[in-house]
Subunit: 199 residues, 2 copies
């Protein structure tokens, strides 16, 4: 059982250290309680529909256990052409993904869901950011794979990590690429009046 303080109104239903850093870095107070929702139970569909369904399912799972709290759930995918790139399963898989992203534009889509069961509140949305990678040499790709950074990241890279050197420009929300569109999430929280309790 998680040690939930009475005053902790907000729960981040994600074990991603990047999402935790983003929310804490923006000045919010919250508790982390990862969802136990089985992601593999959701069939892959259109990117926005897919991440919204996953975000909502994760938030809802934690909301059932903590009905009085406000829960944030999220899910991020990388879309390149018509492929959805998840976390790479091997070095070969990471190499394939990074070759696919090389020198081109791809899209990062994050779904986020804010819910409170007791108040019968649910708001779920998705944000898309365009990302342009520079031209990578095979030597650079191999160097990056050897750092091990790609292995727990959708699309096999971390924009806030060593791969910052690969990203020429983005168009849209930066924090969305890291894992949570902070501006949009806080605007949604403001509408619930949670904001004033957290600053």
């Amino acid at each position: 059982m998680h040690n939930l303080k009475k005053e902790s109104l907000l729960i981040l239903a994600s074990e991603s250290p990047r999402r935790k850093e983003l929310l804490a870095g923006a000045g919010l107070s919250f508790t982390v309680i990862p969802s136990l929702f089985d992601e593999s139970s959701v069939p892959i569909s259109a990117p926005e529909t897919y991440v919204k369904l996953l975000a909502e399912s994760k938030a809802s799972d934690v909301s059932n256990k903590y009905p009085e709290q406000w829960i944030i759930g999220a899910d991020t995918i990388v879309q390149s052409d018509n492929d959805i790139l998840g976390k790479p399963s091997s070095e070969k898989d990471a190499f394939r993904m990074l070759k696919q992203l090389n020198g081109r534009i791809h899209h990062v889509v994050t779904g986020y869901s804010i819910c409170c069961k007791k108040r019968n509140f649910n708001f779920t949305e998705a944000v898309t950011t365009e990302v342009l990678f520079k031209d990578l040499t095979e030597k650079e790709i191999c160097w990056y794979i050897n750092t091990k950074e790609p292995f727990d990241k959708a699309g096999a890279y971390a924009i806030q990590g060593l791969a910052s050197r690969f990203v020429k420009r983005i168009n849209g929300s930066y924090t969305n690429v890291v894992g949570l569109p902070v501006c949009e999430v806080i605007e949604a929280l403001e509408r619930t009046k949670i904001w004033s309790r957290n600053i």
Copy 2:
């Protein structure tokens, strides 16, 4: 006198902790030796011309002392309409700047200069990123000023700090807004063949 290791080929001529984090986060090895160049000696001109001149002057100042090393100098300004916004001098000044950025697009311009005196090498360029702030309430602006974060930042905000919640989208290089366009700087270093010594 700075403790410069013999193997340290690369020097960052900036005391900005943000630039240091960006370069280190991208995997580079370097030494920090801030320039003593007097910025106030340069008259304000067109944004790109101005930051390039400052970046080159800072790099050149350190290069004169360490002629065998490769030096990186940089300078960042915030441009809103035709105003160049520097670091705020007071709470009132920070409030004025944040009101000016509120709900609108502004531009962040970073000049960077890479030089090596012994090799008679100098490459100086500027990168511009478009940033859109959400609509801020006066309460939010006052909250942000009270955190003290605005006071050592050009334009009175830090995109990687608490102000991440104010930024709706960017178009261009994210690291450029933080203080150094990492992708472009490393591409320029690659052309000098420093790269292979740093990974």
